[in-house]
Amino acid sequence: MISKKVVLIGKYGVGKTSLIQQFVHQRFSEKYLTTIGVKIDKKTVNIDGTELNMLIWDIAGESTNTKIPKSYHLGAHGAIYVFDLTRPSTYENIVSELNNLKKLISNVPIQLVGNKSDLLDEKNIHQIINSLPLEISFLTSAKTGKNVESMFSALGKALLK
């Protein structure tokens, strides 16, 4: 079976742990329990008939990902950069954050994910998306589960290419 290392990056509280909890265990908790260091979870997914073992690194969010130990990125096959749609500080420097990330893990697929879509209405979300200089891959809600599965599957597909 193919195993791939996926890292979840993004500032604290954006919902990285919640997205993984939703994806792996279909659970969600309103209570915020911050992650320290790294916690690794795994889930086997079937992508068009291929079994893929996703080893998901839930990395504690910092105020900027330059504070994350570089070694965490070692051997990563893919990354998910998560931001919180309700907190501008989590997407204000999105371009430089992503550029930083790409320097550490070059040539791997990265998903740019706006999370907590359940908290905003469509109009607000559109405003935010339009104000961003980058294309967003998915708008997710770890709470309702919206787009969580599809987001991970899309990354899985990209990992197999």
């Binding site: 195993s3 509280g13 320290i36 130990p69 096959h77």
Partner: protein, 641 residues
Amino acid sequence: MTLKEIKHQYIQSKSQFILFDDQGKCLDSCDTLFQISKLEGSIFSHIPFLESMVEAFPTLPLDEEFDFPCINLTLNGIEGYYDIILKRITYENDIANLCILQDFTHHYEHLIVLQQERNESAIKSEFLEIRERVLSLEKDLLTFQNEELKRIQEFKTTFFAQISHELRTPLNGIVGLVHLLGFPYNNTKKEEYLQALSATSQHLVAIVNNILDLSKIESGKLQFEAVDFNLPDLVKDVCQSFVFSAQEKNILLGHEIAEHIPSHLKGDETKLKQVLFNLLGNALKFTDNGTVTLSITGQENEGKWMLHFIVKDSGIGIEQDKLEKIFQPFEQAEKNTSRLYGGTGLGLSIVKQLIELQHGNIHINSQKGLGTEIHFSIPYDLGKHEESIDLMHEKKYFLNHVLVAEDDLLSQKIVKELLQNWGYKVDVVADGRDVLEKIKHSTYDLLIIDHQMPVLNGMETIKIIRESEYFNKLPIFLLSGQDINNKILLTDWQVEILRKPLNPDDLNKLIGKLSEPADFEVVNLKYLETITQNNKIIIKELVEIFINKVPVELEEMGEALKKQEREKLRLLIHKTKPNYKYVGLNQAFSALEKWEGAIEKDLPVNNETELLQTITKTVKAAIAQLYSKNLNLGIKELKHT
């Protein structure tokens, strides 16, 4: 135990060293923390951290340490935090992977609390900041809205205060004058009051028009006409209306038009009048015992005439600092200087906009105490010399001379002016007896008579007229303020009733009825009989052509008129017109002839649609007559009758 031993034991108890190959086979393990060596299969399946690095191991440079602080692992069912070191080393002549686990659970569990607090408070303060920003934006918006509202409100208040003040002045005047006119002993002064009443109501109309104009200009809805007009006539008209007030204020009012300026121009005559009225009105208002002149010069440029107008007065003048503001709307209203600089405070701003919208310009020179000069220029096209042809009102020839009998001066004046404006000749008398005198000595086409008159009243006069041999055909309209009891008698006498106060439309309609062609246009085959030497077959053919073709051609004319296909219309008229002559519709024939001529010369014709309608009516009546007369011609019954 030595210190060294104690230290060794301490560190040893918190760390584990594992050696494994790239396939995950455990080569050696101290098993201090976990029983790894006894586990079945690949160690990767037990430690996802290592599993995720499978592909990375072969790529690691030899003997280099890779630190992974704070990795959360659950091993043997126990969760903890470990700092992990990975190192690729040489082991028993082969290459192996070394993993050093150091248990820092205690340390990190302490740290997690701090980090939780740090993150939570950071998030909280961020939300607070956002809330504050939103609140302050909302506050700004509210302040802005309030200020805007206040501004609009203030503007409205000043504007309406000013407007209503301006409206009230002439309205009070009108009410007062009407009141004065009501006193019976004031008869001698009535003419004067009427004059004043007329002037005041015109002023009121002007103010209302100003307000409407301004709103039109503001909303961009004002349209400009291009009509032929006579400049000297226009100037004379405008100046004429100021003669009285100029005399009153002992002002010499003069106008001159440079000789080379053509008298016939094309443009918006009404708007020019409006501008001149405004400027001359102002000039007179601020001048006492002096002069006000209007001079017009100009030059031609590529077929257009740029006219320069100068309105000059020797009045009080305007202070320099107020000059710039004088054309700004409401500026005056706000500063309450409108009393000084004219009208609603809108007049000059309207003037400026009217001029500029016609691609002209205006500026003002003034010196306090010496007078004011306003210069403005507007471009005009050259106009046509011919007067516009009014075929409809050719009627005037049938109804020309009107006698009005009315003892009330106000109504007298109204009726007289109305009729004169429509181009009729009017005589006025104040008594029934004078009516009888007048009609004996001149011919009248119409008598308009008031019911209540001294000496001989309306009804009595009409009775005498109808019973006389000579005048029993004279059309009569009876003016009456009350309901008339003797309606049957009036019908008998063929007298039309006009209600007082007189509505011009009613009068116009009644006059129209008098001159309706159907009333006098009767088919007459004399001409046909002459030219065909009474050949019944040809006559029949020509009459059939009239019945069949003329209505169709009228429809085609209507089409052409609607589409403004002038040449086609002219051809149609040309083709159809002899038919009218054949059946003796001579008036219609000559109207058509003139119409054709006018189109040929590209002259404007008034009320073409109405004219066509009148002719159509005439034709319908004529066809009916041709049938009903049963002309013994054996005319085929046609579908469309």
